[in-house]
C-alpha cells in the first residue's frame, strides 16, 4: 500500500517536471510548427545556469528566475536570428534546433565538466511530510504544487486572455489569424520565449530531484516528445494528462521493473498511435 502511494507521488512529481518542459514544447510546436529539439538542452542549460547562480551565493528562488531568464534570452536570440530566417521550412528549422542542441550539450560539458551535480534544496523545503507511517519529501510536493499552479496559469492565459485568444487563433489557422491583423511574428517570439523560460526554470526546479549531468538533455527530450505524441499537439490539457501518464508509467516502471522502465514507454506510444493518431486531446494528426 505504502509503496503504491509513495511511487504514485513520485510519478506525480516526475510528471510535474515533465509538464513544465512539455507544455512549452507543445505550445511552440502547436503555434509555430517548430519541433524544438533544443528543448532538452534548454532544460539542462537552465539547470546548470541555476547551479552556477547558487554557487555564486544567490538563493534558490532567484536562481530559478535567473535560469529561466537566461534561457528566455537565448531562446529569443535563436528565434529571432535563426529560426525566423527559415520560416516556412519546418524541416530546416528542426535540423537547426538539433544542431543547436548538440552545441549546447557540448558547451555544458566544457564549462561544467562531466561530473553530475546536485542542486541543493532550499532549506525551507527540506525534510519530509508525514502522514501516519508515510513520509514524503516536502520538496516533491512543492514541485507538484508548482506544476498544478503553472497549469492553471497557462490555462488562464490561453483561455481567458486576449493574448491567449490570439495564440489559439494562430494554432487553429495561422494564415487566417494573420489576415485578421494579428501580429503573428510577435506572437511567435512571445511563445518561443515563454517555452524557453519554462524549460530553463524547470531545469533548475528539477535539479534537486534529478540532479544535473551530461545527457540530462537527451534523457528528457524524448520523454517530452512522447508526452506530446500522447497528449496531442498544441493542447495544454493533452500535455498535462500526457505528462502525468508518462510520470506514473516511468515511476512505477522504474520501481517494479528497473531494467524495463524504458521499454514500457513504448506501450502508450503504440496504443495511442494505433488507436488515436491525433493524440488523446489533439484535433489534428501530428
Amino acid at each position: 500500500m505504502n509503496f503504491w502511494v509513495i511511487q504514485g507521488l513520485n510519478g506525480l512529481a516526475f510528471g510535474s517536471l515533465l509538464f513544465i518542459l512539455a507544455s512549452g514544447f507543445s505550445l511552440i510546436f502547436g503555434l509555430m510548427r517548430i519541433v524544438n529539439l533544443s528543448h532538452g538542452a534548454y532544460f539542462m542549460l537552465g539547470a546548470y545556469v541555476g547551479l552556477s547562480a547558487i554557487d555564486a551565493g544567490v538563493n534558490f528562488w532567484v536562481a530559478i528566475l535567473i535560469g529561466g531568464a537566461a534561457i528566455a534570452v537565448l531562446g529569443a536570440v535563436i528565434e529571432r536570428f535563426i529560426l525566423r530566417r527559415l520560416t516556412g521550412q519546418p524541416l530546416a528549422q528542426v535540423l537547426v534546433t538539433l544542431g543547436i542542441a548538440f552545441i549546447i550539450a557540448d558547451a555544458c560539458v566544457w564549462i561544467w565538466t562531466g561530473d553530475p551535480r546536485s542542486i541543493p534544496m532550499p532549506h525551507q523545503l527540506t525534510g519530509a511530510f508525514r502522514v501516519q507511517q508515510l513520509a514524503f519529501p516536502i520538496y516533491r510536493l512543492f514541485v507538484i504544487g508548482v506544476a498544478f499552479t503553472l497549469a492553471a496559469a497557462l490555462w488562464f492565459l490561453l483561455e481567458r486572455s486576449r493574448l491567449g485568444a490570439m495564440i489559439r487563433a494562430g494554432v487553429d489557422d495561422l494564415n487566417m489569424a494573420r489576415a485578421m491583423g494579428i501580429r503573428t511574428s510577435l506572437l511567435f517570439s512571445i511563445v518561443f520565449c515563454l517555452g524557453s523560460a519554462l524549460a530553463g526554470a524547470g531545469g533548475v526546479l528539477a535539479g534537486p530531484i534529478l540532479s544535473v549531468y551530461p545527457g540530462l538533455d537527451t534523457d528528457m527530450l524524448p520523454l517530452a516528445l512522447v508526452v506530446v505524441i500522447l497528449g496531442g499537439i498544441g493542447s495544454l490539457l493533452g500535455a498535462f494528462i500526457g505528462s502525468l501518464i508518462i510520470g506514473f508509467i516511468y515511476s512505477y516502471g522504474q520501481a517494479l521493473f528497473p531494467d524495463l522502465a524504458y521499454m514500457i514507454l513504448f506501450l502508450p506510444m503504440v496504443l495511442v498511435l494505433t488507436l488515436r493518431p491525433t493524440g488523446l486531446f489533439g484535433r489534428q494528426a501530428i
Binding site: L91, G99, A101, F102, A105, V228, L260, Y262, P277
Partner: protein, 325 residues
Amino acid sequence: MVLSAVAIAALLAMPWLVQSDYYINIGTQIVIASILAMSLNVLVGFGGMISLGHASYLGVAAYLTIYLTTQAGFGALAGALAAISATTILAMLFGYLALRASGLGFLMITLALGQILWGIAYRWASLTGGDNGLGGAVRPHIFGLDLMNPTAFFYFTLIFLAAAFWLISRFVQSGLGQSLQGTRDQPRRMRALGYNVWLIQWMSFVFAGFWGAVAGLLYAYYNQFVSPQALHLTTSAEALLMVIAGGTGTLFGPVVGAALVVILKNVVSAYITRWLTLLGIIFVAIVMFMPEGLVPGARRLRGIMRKRQNSSTTQALPATEERPT
C-alpha cells in the same frame, strides 16, 4: 559515369595506395557508414521522410549480432541472418508506428522510438551490458579468409557496399521506387491515382531498415563491440548529416557525405575532443547556407560565381536538379 569508374578504381586500389592499417580501417568505416547513409537516403531523399531514428537499425542489428554469437551460441552465419531478420521485423513495427504521421510527426516518432531503444540498451544492463556495452565478438572466417586482417575485411565490406549500391539503385528505378518518389512529391495526387501511399512508404521503410541492419552487422564485425552509443541520437544525426551533406535523392551523395563525416570525425578527434560542437555547427551551417547539400550546393555556388563573372550574358543558368522538398 567516368566519376563512378574512377571512384570504384580508387576504392579497389585503396589498400595498396595507403599501405597502412589505420587508413584502411578508416576506409572500412567509410564503407559501413555509406551503407547506413544510403539506406537512410531511401527514406530521406527518395521518400521525403526525415527520420531521426535510423541508428535504431544499426544499433539493434549490432547488439543482436554480438549477443547471438557470443552469448546465445549462434554460429556466425545463423547469427547474422537472425540479427538482420529480427531487425527488419523491428523496422516493420517502427514503420507502422512512424507512418501513422507524416512530416514533423514522423520525425518526432522516429526520434522517440530510437531514444527509447537507446534507453533500453543503457538501462537493461543484465542483457545489454549497460554503458559498458557488449564485446567479445570475433569476425568470422569466410572461405578460409581471415577477416581479422584489415585489408580482407575492407574488401568484405566493399562487397556489401556494391550489393547495396546495386540493389538500392534497382529499387529506385523499380515501380515501387518510382511511386515512392511520386508520394514524396505529390502524395495527394498519388492517392487520387489509386496508389496505396501508406503501403509504398511502409515497404520503403522496411527496405531502408533492412540495409540499416546490414550496416549494423558490419559495424558489429568491425568494432567487435557495441555500446549504447550505436543507438544514440547523435548516431542517427550523423547518418542524416551524411545524407544531407552529400545531397539527398542522389545515389552517390550519401557515399560522399559518409566519407566527409567519417574523415572529419577521425581528423577532428585526433586534435580536439569537441566533435559534438562541430557536428552541431555543421548542421546549422548546412541548413542555413547550403540547404541542398554540398554536392548540389557547390554546383550552385559555382553557378553564381560564373554568373557574376559573365554578367554581360543575360542567359539564365541551366536548371539544376533542384526539387521542392
